[in-house]
């Protein structure tokens, strides 16, 4: 290696006359570099002109570029001619995206490798050293700039005329508020409008009928529809009750086995929810009290309900108390009964707050 920092040009070097006809082009390049405090200390061709190695590398680079052309053409042909429309059963269209990606990828990789081979193998290797000029602090420059700025401050004369500064601040502060007001004012939205955080779609309208529990397709549910140990997701039987408009309302209706139902009822009575179940049926909010995911994996054997997002587990037979994971609050229970036509209805809305916790939740 011929990296010798001593080679660096001494300070006060005489600049070359670049118009001197005896200079080669490289001499001028080196002179330019020197004027930028760069010393080219090592410059060595990797392949000699006219050698077998040069011809071979040229062929390799050209080969890469030609491969690019080939792959790009293939991309165009496939893009235009390949059957791309989705067909049930997946015909040739399932190869469309992979083929496009493959041909495009090959085209880009080949041009990339072509350029890399060109740069890395065909061009001369060099080592250049550039000065950072960081060590020497330009203290004179600092002084001049600092004094200039202070002089400008003096010219403004805020110190001498304090009223200017005060009035400027007093005048501009409201302007800042004006700039922020439309954004904040436009976005802000009262979270407790219509008591929306504490009610769900099961809330009975005043003097109205009790809300039926319906399935995903809107049909009401009879007790016989759920086999023992089974469960069904139900929704309030109102307009848009099944849609995301009532994202807090999805409820899990569970038909417990006799022994579990008794245990569950005893637990209900302990917290004053004695009449929330109907027969062996209990209904719990499906919206996890932790982060709002649907707690939807029901394990029949242990009566546990698991939320797949963060693995909170709720024990259904103990008022859906959280028994594991990050949830800290039980799933609210919906008081249910069966109306005169034999369909499940909610006796009232949930009596506890549904969904993830927040600051002002009582």
């Amino acid at each position: 290696m011929s990296t010798h920092p001593e080679h660096q040009a001494p300070e006060g070097r005489e600049p070359l006359d670049v118009n001197d006809p005896k200079l080669t082009r490289f001499d001028i390049v080196r002179e330019g570099a020197r004027r930028d405090d760069i010393e080219i200390v090592h410059y060595e061709p990797q392949v000699l002109p006219g050698t077998k190695a040069e011809r071979r590398l040229t062929r390799v680079v050209a080969g890469f570029f030609l491969l690019t052309g080939l792959a790009a053409t293939a991309f165009m042909v496939i893009y235009i001619a390949w059957p791309w429309k989705y067909e049930a059963g997946r015909g040739g269209d399932k190869f469309y995206t992979p083929l496009l990606g493959f041909t495009l990828g090959v085209a880009l990789l080949a041009v990339g490798f072509g350029i890399l081979t060109w740069g890395k193998k065909l061009l001369p290797k060099e080592v250049s050293i550039q000065d950072r000029h960081e060590g020497q602090v330009d203290s004179e420059g600092r002084t001049i700039t600092g004094q200039t700025m202070l002089y400008m401050a003096d010219e403004l004369g805020v110190k001498r005329r304090p009223l200017l500064g005060i009035s400027l601040l007093a005048g501009l502060a409201p302007v800042a508020a004006v700039a922020a007001a439309p954004l904040v004012g436009g976005l802000i939205s009262q979270p407790h409008k219509n008591n929306q955080m504490f009610t769900t779609g099961f809330a009975t309208a005043e003097g109205g009928e009790r809300i039926r529990l319906v399935r995903e397709d809107g049909r009401p549910v009879r007790p016989a529809d759920i086999s023992t140990g089974g469960q069904l997701t139900v929704f309030p039987g109102i307009d848009h009750g099944v849609s995301n408009k009532h994202a807090d309302s999805p409820t899990l209706l569970i038909h417990l086995r006799d022994s579990d139902a008794q245990e569950s009822r005893r637990a209900n009575e302990k917290i004053g929810h004695g009449d929330y179940m109907w027969g062996n049926y209990a209904a719990f909010s499906k919206i996890c009290t932790h982060a709002g995911c649907p707690a939807s994996l029901y394990e029949q054997q242990t009566n546990r309900l698991l939320c797949p997002c963060h693995q909170s587990q709720f024990l259904i037979t103990d008022n859906a108390r959280p028994v594991f994971g990050p949830a800290s609050r039980r799933l609210p229970q919906l008081p249910i009964e069966v109306d005169s036509e034999g369909f499940f209805v909610a006796k009232s809305d949930y009596t506890e707050t549904v969904g993830p916790d927040f600051w002002e939740r009582p």
Binding site: G101, L104, V127, G135, A291, C293, P294, S296, C309, G325
Partner: protein
């Protein structure tokens, strides 16, 4: 009148003179062409992030032509038969159209997603490189802070982006995001209600996320990236210590032509790899998830990888609810700590680290030479601690999948994560610290005694010793050892590194040049083929 002759060869020169007459760019341009860049493979990690970002912009613009950021309910009637007739949001329907009814739309969407994942991965790996080599030290603290911010802004870009299709998976992510905002004490419900325009999900969040994802966040990213690159350019790149390299120079290649060619080639390679991934590897198959419905979720609902550490911290958090018995009572939900407080601490700690370290070491000097990780054991160990913390959290973000695939109890996985989060990082600190010291010691040993040659010699008194090849001439030392100082760079530890193997022969299938005679080690006679052995038989030929 004589007609002026048009000289084609002189045109570029004339044009250049014309340009310089007007803009005086010749000298600044020469400075740019000549700028010296140090070269090391690890300096290219940040480039991967930059190039992925370019791909993101290109593919992203394509996607905006076909995506409709609206939550109005439509009935799907596109070509994907299994979902025909399903009511869904216009956003989800248009995302399905990009996948099935726009020619080449799916490959663009998948390239966009893969580029985003690669962008974040490159940022993280680049950040680790900068951290473990001490490249963040004075004068580059500002760039370290901008880099950390780029991770978090990229995080937001990713989250707002993968929420846009409004499919079953991303809707669940949005639901969790709304719960995270809700959990902020005092203002939580106001923040959520203001961002979602009412109760979750509302009807406006997708269009708000859209404008954030295609205008506000990319604008911020472009601004931060420009400043980041501008500072690298202004402050010049750091370099490894080595022959001729000082704190006050840059040893490398001039920007043109070789360095620039390599950069251009590398960009094409990154672009090509993203294209291959976008075509060959499926990512986020939204048509399998269905439209978002508040009551539907499937097991193994995982976010993109860079969000998984927060998912993990949420899963590991014990159910500690803080109740404040004032008035009707107030609550700080357990969700607040792992999703709001933890990222806050991480942002603060990571951005402030350069200042904390400089203060601790009372180090006010500028550093342009990198440090090998082993030479700063405390920093390396702190980094290992942070990495292990992150890995435990990320693995915990997938603990249900791990529990399922390896037949482990889910609760055991959660407990392993909780304990692991407290135990593994200190352990990683200790082990890394010791490893660094061990490596340092070995470097010094090789410098003092030489490289192990693998040649065992028996001494006259019967002892066996290994012959060491000293790295320098004996320099008149009585014990035959030269004194070499450690200069902060790789110490050769194998004979091959000292040229014992001879030069490599070039050529893939056959040598393109006559190979140089490989020097034969004086200790070894040329190896001869083993003499052919013949089986002793009856003497009859078996042919």
């Amino acid at each position: 009148m004589k007609r002026r002759k048009f000289d084609l060869a002189a045109t570029p020169g004339k044009a250049a003179v014309g340009v310089d007459d007007r803009f005086q760019v010749a000298t600044p341009l020469r400075k740019l062409l000549n700028k010296v860049f140090p070269d090391h493979w690890s300096f290219l990690l940040g480039e991967i992030a930059l190039f992925s970002f370019v791909v993101l912009l290109l593919t992203g613009v394509f996607l905006t032509f076909f995506y409709e950021p609206a939550m109005t309910e439509v009935v799907y009637d596109g070509s994907f038969a299994p979902l025909q007739g399903t009511p869904m949001s216009a956003a989800y329907a248009s995302s399905l159209d990009i996948s099935f009814d726009v020619r080449g739309g799916l490959v663009m969407r998948q390239m966009h997603h893969w580029a985003a994942l690669l962008f974040m991965a490159a940022i993280v790996v680049h950040m680790l490189r900068v951290f473990f080599t001490g490249a963040f030290r004075k004068p580059r603290e500002t760039n370290w802070i901008i880099g950390s911010l780029l991770f978090w802004v990229g995080f937001l870009a990713g989250f707002t982006g993968y929420s846009l299709p409004d499919d079953g998976l991303s809707g669940t992510g949005l639901r969790i995001a709304s719960a995270i905002m809700l959990s902020i004490p005092v203002i939580g419900s106001w923040v959520t209600s203001s961002i979602f325009g009412g109760e979750f999900p509302g009807t406006i969040i997708i269009s708000r996320f859209f404008i954030a994802h295609v205008l506000l966040i990319p604008g911020l990213l472009v601004a931060l990236i420009s400043v980041h690159l501008g500072l690298v350019f202004k402050q010049k790149h750091t370099q490894w210590p080595g022959p001729g390299r000082t704190n006050n120079n840059v040893v490398g290649e001039r920007m043109f032509p070789r360095y620039a060619l390599k950069q251009g080639g590398f960009f094409m390679v990154v672009f090509g790899v993203i294209a291959l991934m976008g075509g060959l590897f499926q990512i986020n198959p939204i048509w399998l998830f269905g439209p978002y419905e508040a009551w539907v979720v499937s097991a193994a609902s995982q976010p993109d990888w860079y969000v998984m550490f927060l998912d993990g911290s949420t899963r590991l958090m014990p159910a500690w609810e803080i109740n404040i018995p004032l008035g009707d009572g107030y609550v700080i939900p357990p969700l607040f700590w792992p999703t709001v407080v933890l990222p806050g601490i991480l942002v603060g700690l990571s951005t402030m680290y350069p200042f904390l370290e400089a203060r601790h070491l009372k180090d006010r000097k500028s550093h342009n030479l990198l440090e090998r990780p082993r030479d700063a054991p405390a920093r390396t160990a702190v980094g290992a601690m942070a990495v292990s913390f992150y890995i435990v959290l990320t693995l915990s973000g997938a603990n249900d999948v791990i529990a399922d695939k390896f037949q482990i109890s889910l609760n055991a996985m959660t407990w392993a994560g909780r304990i692991g989060l407290l135990v593994v990082p200190p352990l990683a600190y200790y082990v890394t610290y010791r490893l660094c010291l061990g490596l340092q010691q070995h470097d010094r040993e090789v410098l003092a005694h030489g490289v192990e040659t693998g040649i065992i010699r028996r001494l006259p008194d019967g002892r066996f010793v290994e012959v060491h090849q000293p790295l320098s001439a004996s320099n008149g030392h009585a014990d035959g050892h030269g004194q070499l100082d450690y200069v902060g760079w790789v110490v050769p530890k194998k004979m091959n590194r000292l040229g014992a193997l001879g030069p490599a022969i070039r050529g893939f299938f056959y040598p393109i040049e006559k190979p140089v005679e490989a020097p034969v080690s004086p200790g070894h006679p040329p190896v001869e083929a083993r003499p052919e052995r013949e089986e002793i038989g009856s003497g009859e030929s078996r042919r």
